[in-house]
């Protein structure tokens, strides 16, 4: 089996190579050990080969079809949320989860300008 190329024409019946798995780990922001990469490559290849059976089916993709609920354009009324709403969150409660915070500030790392690993 040739190395997996990232092109649609080649996807059929190919699994996930180790380099592909490593790439997916990067996309998903998860470091993986060498052992994990090898193990997941083999396990996920099995799964991908299984789900590939859908390729044999000739199914029309209906444009504009509603999702599983049949609901559409569900919007909230343009009113302030009620005090008792479960979705109201006090800042202190929200802040409590952050690893780093002080006073009324929460601390996060800079997106730009910090060291970024390839």
């Amino acid at each position: 089996m040739s190395n997996l190329k990232n092109s649609p024409a080649d996807h059929v019946a190919e699994g996930l190579s180790k380099s592909e798995v490593e790439h997916l780990g990067h996309l998903a922001r998860m470091s993986l050990t060498e052992e994990e990469i090898a193990r997941y490559s083999s396990q996920l290849t099995n799964v991908v080969e299984y789900v590939d059976q859908l390729q044999e089916l000739d199914l029309p993709i209906q444009a504009g079809a509603r999702g599983v609920t049949g609901l559409s354009n569900v919007v909230k009324a343009d009113l302030p949320r009620e005090k008792e709403s479960l979705a109201n969150l006090e800042f202190a409660d929200a802040q409590a989860g952050f690893p780093l915070s002080s006073g009324r500030l929460i601390e996060v790392r800079a997106v730009l300008g910090g060291e970024v690993e390839g």
Partner: protein, 514 residues
């Protein structure tokens, strides 16, 4: 009847006992707490017990009852939650290392509703990590042992909830079913588990796994119990844009009529058409399990139901669609666990002078915080959603989903319910499938079709198989059209009136592991 005997009874009996003053909520709650202390070390069912909290609430319930201010039928009834619901001030972790120590700052709608009924939360029960699994083996807190045979799995992902009812450690449990996670463990543990129509119960505050597939449902001793609970937890929620405005009915009341008829020996299911889709039977299903399921279906016939053979050719393909759609949504939903806002973070472990880059905070926190199954699904989802693969996988799976939905709708023009096995077999030995994720996924082959279709289904105990020295339960699956839980309940009420599989309990032993 002493208190311990009462905890072995179904929810209805306990409601009655409270109402007639035979027992107080504090007595009932204490009885459950004692049983949990005795059995949990062996079976690992509860991951967190909130003893003081429960007793306080039980006491408050008894006070309300004294002053004639009972909130509902469920007032004072002890229950548990699968460890995936936000409960303000009480830890929830989705049985994952990445949420260890997290204290939810808000309440899930389901939890809030149950608080308003006066029900008493005993604690949180074990699940596969982020509800991903069919065996509860991927839980950060270790596997739950099946009360029917502790060398075997209780099923998953709601292994803790199902086992909690099998071992009679709560009057009911609230769990989730995304691909079979209520029905399959209910079948493995000989309890009744309902997965309502998608949209019936609010998902606000339920830690999302796959947002178009997740649904909360009750697990209890009987279908009547689950109907009582559903009436309390269902309903439109403005905080969940996928929740349905469909009417919440008093299903239990309608079931009483059916029960009466069945008890009187009348054909309580006369006029009901039960569909048997051939794709759910035969090859791939353990013959002993199928035998029990077919016998159960004959029981329905003896109650006057008409059996209709039909074919749903896309059913066997639903699993493939599920293992594209589900991981895709998982990869999106797991992105929030980033080590920045809550939960496990390498920042917490870091020495004062050691500063991680943002990338490292993400990558290392997630590497260390997530278990293998979660990682696999995130990667699978990332793969099927990535450029170049989206059309081939995700779009195709969605097209299949529409087609499966259409097939179910068509079928329900001809029949009222579908009957089928829940599982291709029965509870397997702990560790026997852990190295083969695909084999694990295949366990769901008979349950996921309904998740893909968004329709409701229940698992009803229908007998046990003898395997080595154990009796292993088998479940009958009854499915209906969207928002037609009434039809499921009707069939279930009849079945559980003329059979007593659901009342059988395992022999629990307290001795340590063999």
């Amino acid at each position: 009847m002493n208190t311990l005997e009462l905890t072995s009874q179904d929810l209805q009996s306990q409601i009655q006992a409270l109402q007639t003053g035979q027992i107080t909520s504090v007595e009932l709650t204490k009885a459950y707490l004692d049983q949990i202390k005795k059995l949990n070390p062996r079976y690992n069912i509860f991951v967190r017990v909130e003893e003081e909290f429960a007793l306080q609430n039980a006491q408050a319930s008894d006070q309300r009852r004294k002053s004639g201010q009972t909130l509902s039928q469920l007032d004072g009834i002890p229950y548990n939650l699968k460890d995936v619901y936000a409960t303000k001030g009480l830890p929830t972790s989705a049985c994952s290392h990445i949420l260890e120590g997290w204290i939810p700052p808000y309440d899930a709608t389901v939890y809030h509703k149950l608080n308003q009924t006066g029900a008493v939360l005993l604690g949180k029960t074990n699940t596969d990590e982020f509800t991903m699994g069919v065996s509860t083996e991927s839980s950060y807190y270790g596997v739950t042992k099946n009360p029917w045979d502790p060398t075997r799995v209780p099923g998953g992902s709601s292994g803790g909830p199902a086992a909690s009812i099998a071992a009679r450690l709560s009057a009911f449990s609230i769990a989730t079913d995304t691909g079979g996670s209520i029905r399959q463990p209910a079948a493995f543990c000989n309890v009744t588990g309902l997965r309502p129509t998608y949209g019936r119960v609010s998902r606000f505050g339920e830690l999302a796994m796959a947002s178009s597939l997740d649904q909360t449902g009750p697990i209890a001793v009987s279908a009547m119990d689950t109907a009582l609970i559903l009436s309390q937890i269902a309903g439109l929620d403005e905080l969940d844009a996928t929740s349905s405005p469909s009417q919440v009915e008093n299903w239990a009341e309608s079931m009483q009529a059916v029960v009466k008829q069945a008890k009187a020996g009348d054909k309580s299911l006369k006029g009901v058409k039960v569909g048997l889709a051939k794709e759910y039977f035969g090859e791939g299903v353990d013959p002993r399990a199928e035998k029990l399921v077919r016998a159960a279906i004959e029981t329905l016939k003896s109650q006057g139901a008409e059996l209709v053979e039909l074919s749903l050719p896309l059913i066997p393909k639903a699993l493939a669609a599920y293992y594209i759609i589900c991981p895709a949504e998982v990869s999106s939903n797991m992105a929030r666990y980033d080590g920045v806002r809550y939960g496990y973070s390498v920042e917490r472990q870091a020495a004062a002078n050691q500063k991680h880059s943002l990338y490292d905070i993400y990558a290392k926190s997630r590497e260390q915080g997530f278990g293998a199954e979660v990682k696999r699904r995130i990667m699978l989802g990332t793969h099927v959603l990535s450029a170049g693969y989206f059309d081939a996988y995700y779009k195709k799976a969605e097209a299949l989903r529409q087609a499966v939905s259409a097939q179910f709708s068509e079928a329900f023009q001809q029949v009222d319910v579908l009957a089928a096995p829940v599982s291709p077999a029965f509870a397997f030995v702990i560790g026997s499938k852990i190295d083969d994720p695909l084999a694990m996924y295949m366990e769901d082959i008979l349950t996921v079709p309904l998740n893909i279709g968004g329709i409701p289904g229940i698992s009803l105990p229908c007998g046990t198989i003898q395997e080595s020295n154990s009796h292993l339960p088998v479940g009958l699956q009854i499915m209906a059209d969207k928002f037609r839980e009434d039809r499921i309940f009707k069939v279930s009420a009849a079945f559980q009136t003329v059979t007593d599989w659901h009342l059988q309990q395992p022999n629990l032993s307290l001795t340590k592991d063999e």
